[in-house]
Amino acid sequence: MDQDLLMRSILEGGQEEVPAHVWEGVSAGLDKAARRRKVALWWRRAAVGGAVAAAVAAVLVLNPGGSGDDIVPMDEGSGLIAVVEPVDTSDSVNPEEVLIAQAEPVVRPASAGRRAENAAEAVAEVTEAMELTEAVEQAGTSETVDVTDTVEKSEANADPAAEASRKTVSEKTYFPEDWGEDEEKTAKVKTSLTLSGLTGTNSAQNSARRNLIKRPSISKAPAKTGIKETSTNSTYGIPLSFGAGVKFDFTPKWSLGVGVNYSLLSRKFYGEYQKVDASGIIESSTSSDITNTQHYIGIPVNAFYNIVNSKSVNFYAYAGGAVEKCIADKYALANTSITHKEVPAGVQWSANVGIGAEFMIGNHLGLYIDPSLRYYFDNGQPKSIRTAQPFMLGFEMGLRVRL
């Protein structure tokens, strides 16, 4: 009797007692997997809900018809914006904390052994193995003999019929060439949470419009308390943005990203703070260096096209736009306690196009960097780097969490 068949018959008749804690662990693992599915579903729904809420907020808050104080620009006749120089800021982009969905830890008996936490991973791995095709089974198994020692030669001389009979012994399985590759196949639309920081550069200033630009329309209303810019020179700080978003992968190639971001613009100029009474008479006037900071809240929307999609790095191109509302336009006079705040009317529209790379850290976390070219439309917004240099090169980087 063939040695292998004999051993097989001996082993198939054997039984082993399974400790009770194994079944407890199975139960706990199944509960854990069910909870993870619920959490993932909850995050996905929260992401969708957040995107919808952001869109609704945009409709409600970004009211282009609202009125607000306008800054009366100085030097109305010149219309000339001098060469701008960036001001190095000491602030650096600080990435936000990573949001990682974690299910609750499972309380298991101490004797249950290993990790219900890894059950989902094991399930995914085995699923991968189970679902691969049976190419090996169907391929011809013409084994060539190339052995040297005595025992190996005896193997080579084995009866081909016995060899062929192996194929009928047990059900064949094709094990994947890439072992242990986790692959989420549960959702048709993959969702990712993004946390990002964006900064723009003034490197395009040489090509930016430095000559006459369309100035905000001059209000015909009586003079009111506000800032007068008495110098044509402004120094602009590097714009910074932070945000969070959701990215939906509709197909392997196309994705849609939507989010909410906050932007900080700053500039310094020499100007005058004029306090005007109700009758339009200037009560007081203070000249000083003035720091102007503008705070924007916006909703960016981008379409992504995946160029290269691998497990470790992704390359893609994207295009889209954003609508932003200036929620605060603040002026602070140096060496004084005088501050002034405006809420400009209207919104800032922009369009952007760029390429990006995402480096995967594990299966669910990716670090991405997206250089882009942005254009800010002239929407009558307060003077800023965006009005001085509508074309800007931006660098966005952040963390993307796959749900």
Binding site: A112, A122, V123, V126, A129, T150, T173, G180
Partner: protein, 147 residues
């Protein structure tokens, strides 16, 4: 299925964990069983796969290099195997070095060919044959010692 896990892992305690993972996978993927072939065979495949995944994670699939001195020994007949029972055979298999044991299980017990084993484990057919031969030599040596 527990004997399957024990045969591959070689350690009962670790095999319990693999058995646990295997059952979780089986219950999770019950709906994927389409009735092609026997349910036992489908379930067996899950546990074999789970065992091999566990070995791979522990980097225990390196092919063994032991028993170079045993090369040249002739293969004995099946008589020695006939004289042992399940427990003794299991104990011997569990003592096999991981590389020998994996190839031995896949070839002698599961019935895969050397080409299939090579594809599964990323080794050549020759390596698979060598590992199997040395596993058998090792078993024969142990059987002789036990006689």
């Amino acid at each position: 299925m527990f004997p399957i896990c024990i045969r591959y892992i070689g350690d009962r305690v670790q095999a319990e964990d693999v058995l646990q993972d295997g059952f979780i996978t089986l219950f999770e993927k019950l709906d994927s069983y389409k009735g092609d072939g026997s349910f036992e065979g489908w379930a067996r495949r899950i546990f074999v796969t789970t065992s091999l995944m566990a070995l791979r994670k522990k980097d225990a699939l390196k092919m063994s290099e032991e028993l170079d001195t045993a090369r040249g020994m002739k293969a004995e007949t099946v008589s020695q195997v006939q004289n042992i029972g399940y427990k003794e055979l299991m104990a011997l298999i569990m003592q096999l070095p991981p590389g020998f044991r994996t190839v031995f299980n896949l070839y002698s017990i599961e019935g895969y060919s050397h080409k299939e084993i090579g594809d599964m484990l990323g080794i050549s057919e020759t390596t698979s044959r060598t590992q199997l031969s040395r596993a058998r030599i090792w078993l024969q040596k142990k059987l002789k010692e036990n006689d």
